[in-house]
Symmetry: C2
Subunit: 592 residues, 2 copies
């Protein structure tokens, strides 16, 4: 039994009928990405990640990446060979810019491939996630010199990239960064300081590792305003661009973590020998935070994807187990049956399926907005998409990763006692995903971003527009009798979200931040659940229209799952309203 | 920093003012257990578990129990010495029957000590949990011969006990048990078969291990009706009662699990040499299932306790971290502050505290009912308590253990990136507790027990009586202005539960089981949340009355926490109603 097979049918359906690939493929520069071509690409990608990357998931967990006595990180058995195939086949570059050696596919297609990589092997996929972030930063902010020296090798995956942000005293608060960057006569800098939690901070997969490091130049202002970004290669390239002398930093240790064991989480000491690590400024001095968000925003969507990806893998595993495990009789039955026939097991499986499909809708829809933001035909289209993606990013990140923890936990539960035994593999997903609500900005930080930055966008008009967009599906639902309950439930849920949004908006307008901050996390949760309901309704309507490229069974399942989401799960969003509007008084009164 | 300190103040408050220890101490046989004496006992217990048992929590996780080449399980460093102290001090026997060497304390006091053990070291505590189960089975169903030979040694903890139920094809469905028991001329039996998932199936702490094994005698009827229970000692006692010849079974392997590494989960092969393991019938033939529930019901409450115990430990750890970790500025502030001052962190901590205190209320209340069931002054009192405990047992088990997973996850989240690093210790709680929703009957089984067995008790009158009891606190809340919102919220929540109970009752009356089974898990969740709200309201009213043995700060915190539970968390129970009443059609229609 294969542990993971890319769910190509649902991916194609969501891509074509929720994220409207047809529309994206008509944008300037994406004309080659028509749905038929993309479908072929995805078939191939599915084979690659299923056959080459997924089988390394368990060995990665068991062996982990380790720091050798030579100060060099060694990846688990098979990773190096698989990474070479990944680069050779061009998967690393599929949606990277064509002018730097990439495949030039739309972001929304890249995201589907990213889902496969993450489902197949979350720990491994993080190397690519960070490299993609580095590409964005260098492409957007780097000098021509930096681009010509580094960009193509990062795009193709020949070299990898990392983000060096966190320090022992600077986690969620990057303003506290202390790493120093001392300017040199030749225009370069020398870096000194310690960074922690550096994902894939070193490895033996590529000939070079390119770190993007936040640091402070002399006399820079305090806080985030004084931070700059530097590119620090492991090996300084020679004239031909080949790796030359080793830069002055040391991998001090790697963390022993709950999960993602194959992903080396490094402590790095820059300037360890006293000379200082050679670094090159990316963009201008003091603009490090802005540049960092260029990497961070797509990375946040990528982390949201992890919630989807492991829910999918956990679902597949739980379903396979539930089909083959025979135990217990149904009421009135005499023969034991596969547990998939028991209502409570069906409830768990359908909950996993519904949430997974809802997350897939949200991820692909958000990525579509990313393509429209860059390639939309009009300024209004691009701006609207930019607003949408800004609003949805914290929701994608936090809602999906919280759900990822919950769905992988359900995956264990379906297995009963076997789920608690590591050999089964279900427990690994639960361990692996638990980092996702934490890194790239904790989910609490996401929630603050939502209420303090995104909700006030255009005086609340961005949220209002999304609510209007969501409501527009209600009319379409009205055409189908069996979607009436879905329509009612969704209408109530959208009303509920409009209500809490207005309540929070009023507090913000009064400058009364405490109740807003107290409400942030449950409000984000409510928002995610409702957006999921809307997009599942969109997919139900699309399925009702009976697109020719999907068979009737598939389409009726889509409708049934969307109904389950909207009728059974969505109403839980209403239960959060009193929590959201409960104010901060009791929180403030508590003595800790 | 100590990782766990028994929360003696809250324990005493809950014991005295929610579980009404005063009343219990007036029952026949418990007169020595007055609140003052019990308080002294708990102080001592707190010291013991904090100082002796808790420090072994991490070494237990790291080393685990291992199976030696001699077929003997070895426990982690320090466990043997600590276990000896535990037995010597009499903690093993504190609430065990006095006529067999126990301390004779009420069950409700035993449960407090059990909470300490589980918080201090969950994996270690399981050895005691299983031994207590064995005591119940032998005391209630064993012959005088068995009692005189085994009971005192089990009560004092000199020997340990186990439950051998599960087989590879018989998990949730024990009717599928195949282990054979062949009668011998001397009245004993010889057992042959393989048992799996045997918690503390072997160890090096005690001189003997006493297994209670479900097996089938020849020509017994199929299913659960044909199952008998046998006592199978590791070493057959000689005439003096000392361990003699080794019985014929083998520890085949121990599982590599997600957590509770110090607790050896064994595969045991009985009759491995061909002779058969010598076993003695407990009770009558074919009554194994009934006897098993004698062990299982208290064990289910004990497992529910695990959700409380690890939530408490996770809360203490998260709080300590949040107090000392300085990061980020409050809105408008200029200096970084301890993260405990950030509203979202306070929300997490208060959510953990509120749920933990609610679970403690439920656990102690349920245990109080256990004492009343056995020692109540009138038959009516005993019966009412028996009904209550029957109804509450599945809720205690499933609601508390699901919350345990959620609260330990929040505990990780409070730590940010440090929470994902194993050295911090927060991750261990999350791994350890994940078994609790599975063993001693999965939470799905508990939910079925609630809707199919407990809800119909006395034609629904048992649930109706509990709803009436719960409503009685509403009048008391009305005496306090600041509890008005709590009162409103609780009244709505109780109405909501009455509504779903009636809806399910109507389906049951029609024999329409599918929607009842589909609703079982969310209904149990709703029930747990509402019971928690009721008991937190009880504790708020008790605190308002200002009992002299607690200071004003403590009491005002109790009120604040109860308000947070009722005003912020309890309304989420209403969001479950559409899920509960959503029916089974969509579940049945789904194709898996």
């Amino acid at each position: 039994m294969s542990e993971y097979v890319a769910p190509l049918a649902d991916m194609r359906f969501t891509l074509n009928h929720v994220a409207d690939l047809e529309r994206i493929s008509k944008l300037n520069g994406y004309q080659h990405a028509d749905p038929a071509t993309v479908s072929t690409v995805l078939d191939e990608a599915g084979r690659f990640f299923t056959e080459v990357i997924s089988p390394l998931n368990r060995v990665g967990d068991l062996e982990g990446s380790v720091l050798g006595p030579d100060g060099q990180v060694r990846t688990p058995t098979g990773f190096k060979e698989a990474y070479e195939l990944y680069v050779e086949a061009g998967w690393a570059a599929a949606h990277m810019p064509a002018d730097w050696g990439g495949g030039g596919l739309p972001y929304v297609v890249g995201v589907v491939i990213e889902e496969m990589f993450k489902s197949a092997n979350l720990a491994f996929s993080l190397c690519a996630l960070l490299t993609h972030g580095a590409v964005e930063a260098v492409r957007t902010h780097g000098s021509d010199e930096l681009k010509s020296r580094y960009l193509e090798k990062l795009v193709t995956g020949e070299w990898s990239g990392t983000m060096n942000l966190t320090e022992p005293e600077a986690g969620s608060d990057l303003g506290a960064v202390r790493t120093k960057a001392v300017p040199q006569p030749d225009g370069s800098y020398r870096l000194f300081g310690t960074k922690i939690f550096i994902t894939w901070g070193d490895q033996d997969l590529t000939d070079n590792v390119i770190h993007l490091v936040l640091a402070r130049t002399p006399d820079s202002p305090r806080g985030t305003k004084g931070i700059s970004m530097f590119l620090v290669p492991k090996y300084l390239p020679d004239e031909q661009g080949n790796p030359g002398p080793r830069n002055d930093y040391k991998i001090v240790s790697i963390e022993h973590k709950l999960g993602i064991h194959a992903s080396p989480t490094c402590v790095i000491s820059f300037g360890d020998s006293g000379e200082g690590a050679v670094g090159y400024l990316v963009g201008d001095e003091m603009e490090g935070m802005r540049n960092m968000f260029t990497m961070m925003n797509p990375a946040r969507i990528g982390v949201g994807m992890e919630g989807l990806a492991l829910s999918e893998r956990a679902y597949q595993r739980a379903l396979a187990y539930a089909r083959q495990r025979v135990q217990g009789r149904p009421p009135g039955g005499h023969q034991p049956v596969p547990i998939v026939e028991h209502p409570d097991v069906r409830r768990m499986l359908l909950t996993m399926r519904a949430n997974t499909e809802a997350m897939r809708c949200l991820l692909y829809y958000t990525a579509q907005q990313g393509d429209l933001m860059l390639h939309g035909g009009t300024a209004a289209e691009r701006e609207s998409a930019a607003d949408h993606i800004a609003l949805l990013t914290p929701i994608v990140k936090a809602w999906s990763t919280d759900l990822g923890v919950e769905m992988t936990s359900l995956g264990i539960q379906v297995h009963g006692g076997m789920g608690y035994v590591e050999e089964t593999g279900a427990a690994q997903h639960f361990r692996d995903i638990r980092i996702a609500p934490i890194y790239e900005g904790t989910n609490g930080i996401q929630a603050m971003d939502l209420v303090l930055r995104k909700l006030p966008l255009a005086d609340g008009a961005v949220v209002a527009r999304l609510l209007t967009t969501m409501s527009s599906v209600l009319d379409e639902l009205a055409d189908y009798d069996d979607l009436e309950a879905t329509r009612d439930s969704l209408a109530d849920a959208i009303d509920g979200l409009a209500g809490t949004s207005a309540w929070l908006g009023a507090r913000l307008a009064e400058g009364d931040l405490d109740p807003v901050l107290a409400a942030a996390t449950p409000y984000l949760r409510q928002f995610g659940i409702v957006v999921g309901g809307w997009l599942m309704a969109v997919s139900a309507v699309a399925a009702k229209k009976g697109p020719a490229d999907f068979d009737a069974d598939f389409l009726s399942e889509k409708v049934n799952t969307a109904r389950f989401y909207n009728e059974h799960l969505l109403p839980q969003s209403l239960g959060l309203i009193p929590t959201i509007e409960g104010g901060a008084d009791l929180l403030n009164a508590a003595r800790f």
